[in-house]
């Protein structure tokens, strides 16, 4: 049977002129690593859900993307993570929102789908469920990255809310070639 896999790492004002060669290479390499992992699982006859979660784990563990380790900061200087999964065969689904101590949120969303009667859990309750399921909780400082923290500081100065990867956020990226941007 046919099989295939597609991934994204976020959309926005991502322009070549604003991207250093080294950063572009880093993104391409990480996307390749992630999708290859999922393809490996599918080629070996593994399930699409296993491929999806293993692939997303790699992107969650990379500071390049706004998920897991590379998460952006809230106004209160915390990292609040959300995730969801859905299985096309059973139409079962799992989702979590607003967690601050789960290293790989997609795995917790899958646990909600597979090991609870619920579809969506949030905040402290979701983390209580995680502990009952044997998830190790990480210290919130695990999610700190200088790049994202500095983005927040600059945005706070302008007191606007931005989507990840948009032009203003991209400008504050230390890899950005154009020094004229703040």
């Amino acid at each position: 049977g046919s099989f295939g896999i597609v991934i994204h790492g976020g959309a926005g004002t991502i322009l070549k002129k604003n991207m250093s060669d080294s950063l572009e290479t880093a993104y391409r390499e990480k996307l390749t690593e992630a999708i290859s992992r999922g393809h490996e699982i599918l080629a070996a006859g593994g399930s699409s859900m296993d491929a999806v979660t293993a692939t997303i784990n790699i992107m969650e563990d990379s500071p390049l993307f706004n998920a897991g380790k590379g998460a952006v900061f809230t106004h209160d200087q915390t990292n609040e993570l959300d995730a969801s999964v859905m299985d096309g065969a059973s139409l079962n689904a799992g989702a979590i929102s607003g967690v601050t101590r789960i290293k790989n949120p997609i795995d917790l969303a899958r646990a909600v789908m597979d090991k609870s009667e619920h579809v969506m859990l949030s905040g402290v309750g979701a983390e209580q469920f995680a502990e009952e399921q044997g998830f190790a909780l990480v210290d919130p400082s695990y999610f700190y990255t200088k790049r994202r923290f500095e983005s927040l500081q600059r945005i706070k100065e302008r007191e606007t809310t931005e989507l990840d990867h948009d032009d203003k956020t991209a400008f504050v990226d230390p890899f950005i070639k154009e020094s004229k941007f703040g």
């Binding site: 790492g9 992630a34 399930s47 999806v52 979660t53 959300d82």
Partner: protein, 134 residues
């Protein structure tokens, strides 16, 4: 935000999305990523979809489910359905962003209305496509 959709050898589809949310967000604001039907949807009868974009608009437009039901009820291809929602419906509401999707035949869509989207596709033969810009 990151996401993945996959079709396995048994013909089953799955979708997943994970995000750190929005910089400087307040009031426990939640975007589309954890909302089934907006940021994530999968149905063997149509397709699997993962979204990334301005969450409020992707929730209002129920983007992921919309693409799936345009295929299921109106017989659109995955590319037609993705374009209809991402290039017409979402901008009409004022939002922006993109999706990746795959159907039971292994056909895919990587549709976005922003300047760029980090994205990659690998098919059964292992042929790899990695793109960033439009």
């Amino acid at each position: 935000t990151v996401g993945c959709v996959a079709l396995d050898k048994s013909g089953n589809l799955a979708a997943g999305t994970s995000t750190g949310g929005m910089t400087n967000k307040r009031y426990n604001r939640i975007g589309d990523a954890p909302i089934i039907g907006a940021g994530t949807y999968a149905n063997n009868a149509s397709c699997a979809v993962s979204s990334t974009g301005w969450g409020e608009y992707f929730i209002r437009a129920m983007v992921a489910h919309d693409i799936a039901v345009l295929m299921e009820y109106k017989g659109m291809s995955i590319q037609e359905a993705a374009q209809e929602v991402i290039q017409k419906k979402v901008p009409a509401l004022g939002g922006d962003g993109g999706i990746v999707a795959i159907d039971r035949g292994g056909n895919i869509a990587m549709e976005f209305n922003t300047a760029g989207m980090y994205r990659a596709h690998m098919n059964k033969e292992g042929s790899l496509t990695v793109k960033i810009y439009k």
